[in-house]
Amino acid sequence: MKFMNFRNYLLFIAPALLIYLLFFAGPIFSGLYYGFTDWNGFSFKADWVGLENFREAFRDPLLLTALKNMAILSVVVIVLQHSASILLAVLLDQKLKGIVWMRAIIFFPVILNTVVIGYVWSYMYAPMVGFLPKFFAAIGLNGLAQLDWLGNPSLAIYAIALVMVWQYTGYSMMIYLAGLQSVSGEIYEASSIDGAGPWNKFWKVTLPLLIPSVIVNTVLSVIGCMKMFEHVFIMTQGGPANSTQTFGIMIYQYAFKTSQMGYGTAMAMILSVMILVVTFVQMKLLSRLEVAN
């Protein structure tokens, strides 16, 4: 059936393609050129400087901090968010009263405005006056009450990671729930007949069947951590003492504070390539799993 000819195909995709090319994909790919120039951003003209930007980037202490923070965020999020969300998904994948509302409440922070979240958590963490210091003081944990979560350079990035875990656990949970619901009930019945308890069922049946969800989900979280900008910008602006720098903050600062557009674009290219590599590895892993099954 030749339902759609080439001309119609182009007409259908043209509006989306045009907007996408002009305002998203084009700008990103033009970075492949501008990243090799000393571009100042005031015009499209720029002089070729070869690998100079990249050489400078890998000597830039900020880039090292950003890479380190990317790793910290990813590890904290994977460990805390994913163990919590798998646990919650398993618990909420049952017929209990109020389950729909509990799922909905746990998911809710996902759609909350980042500025609102940033404000609330700045206050939760605020030394002396904030919720956490007062709460820990009230229950007698004076050591914890003294912490200056966002003001201490060695703590701040972990404090931000906890906010991300708080916001996105519901998101991961929903993906795991969808994964659990595709597991047929017969497998559980069979394992019950074989005498498996809940603990064994989880480790021997549920978790192995969840592996594809785990891959998709952790990669999504890692990409989210790599793209981190808003939470940091609102809560710490990359400080104190540049300890919470991320690629997003760095690119923003080089572009709009110091006008090193070519250099900022080179940074953006490094980040985009890393994200594409992570995505590619995920796709390979998933297809290998499908073959194995």
Partner: protein, 272 residues
């Protein structure tokens, strides 16, 4: 076959999770009703100061920001849905023209961060004189947000039986009439999901208005709220009243259509 003991422990874990999620929200609401000099985050407001809300609305200049946000949201959502559903239909029927590669190209919009193209995009907008305009911001939002609706629509079209289109072809309907008269009406449930997801993303967008709108009177709500912080640095009750006002429309929407919201936001990942 769950025992009472198991049930109790399940509910205990779930209630702890709910408390962790809800406490920051409760603190926000509680503090927003207190007076700055006597804030106690651990207690409920004794004498609720509702005037914090009217004050925040007035001094934070939230009304014009509200209007700007709505305007951008409407433009972005209408245009993004329109171009995405067309593109998805083309991609679905264009297998013979290598549309799979084109789909992959569009889907890169889901993973690449918008800020990695910000600097060149900034220049593009300046060249066409749309920098610092709501139309310009909208175009950026559409471009960086159309991957998700395209993806949801393409997945939906896979479920539409080909007999429908074959019958239309026999009746002499071309792809455009078939799309408008037969296919588009079928997409309404998924269109509702797409509208809600695109609208929420536009409403919550912080980075793009921060970068592309420079004059204060053009600001959308999230950026306006951010400016509030530097203005009233220590007035937590008023800041939280402002924050609660920004969150309110989303909370109300969520109460009514949470199923659509969750399906739309998670659907992109689950079938991926």
């Amino acid at each position: 076959m769950t025992t009472t003991l198991q049930k109790t422990s399940i509910y205990t874990v779930l209630i702890i999770a709910l408390i962790i999620v809800l406490v920051p929200m409760a603190v926000m609401i509680s503090v927003s009703l207190q007076t700055p000099s006597t804030i106690n985050p651990l207690s409920l407001p004794k004498d609720p100061q509702w005037s914090n809300y009217t004050e925040a609305f007035r001094t934070g200049n939230l009304l014009p920001y509200f209007g700007n946000s709505i305007l951008v949201l409407v433009m972005t959502t209408a245009a993004a849905i329109g171009v995405s559903v067309l593109a998805a239909y083309g991609l679905h029927h264009g297998k013979r023209y290598k549309s799979d590669a084109m789909s992959t190209f569009f889907l890169m919009g889901l993973i690449l961060p918008a800020f990695s193209g910000t600097i060149p995009a900034f220049l593009v907008l300046r060249e066409i004189h749309l920098l610092n305009t709501h139309v310009g911001l909208s175009l950026i939002q559409i471009a960086s947000g159309l991957a998700l609706p395209i993806f949801l629509y393409v997945n939906f079209f896979k479920t539409v039986p080909t007999e429908i289109e074959e019958a239309a072809l026999v009746d002499g309907c071309g792809p455009w009439r078939t799309f408008l008269k037969i296919i588009f009406p079928l997409t309404l449930p998924i269109t509702a999901t797409c509208i809600i997801v695109v609208a929420i993303n536009s409403w919550n967008d912080f980075f793009n208005p921060l970068v592309y709108l420079s004059s204060p009177d053009m600001r959308t709500l999230p950026v306006g709220l951010m400016a509030f912080k530097s203005q009233y640095n220590t007035n937590w009750p008023q800041m939280f009243a402002g924050a609660a006002l920004v969150a309110l429309p989303i909370i109300i929407l969520y109460l009514f259509v949470q199923r659509f919201i969750i399906k739309g936001l998670v659907g992109g990942a689950v079938k991926g």
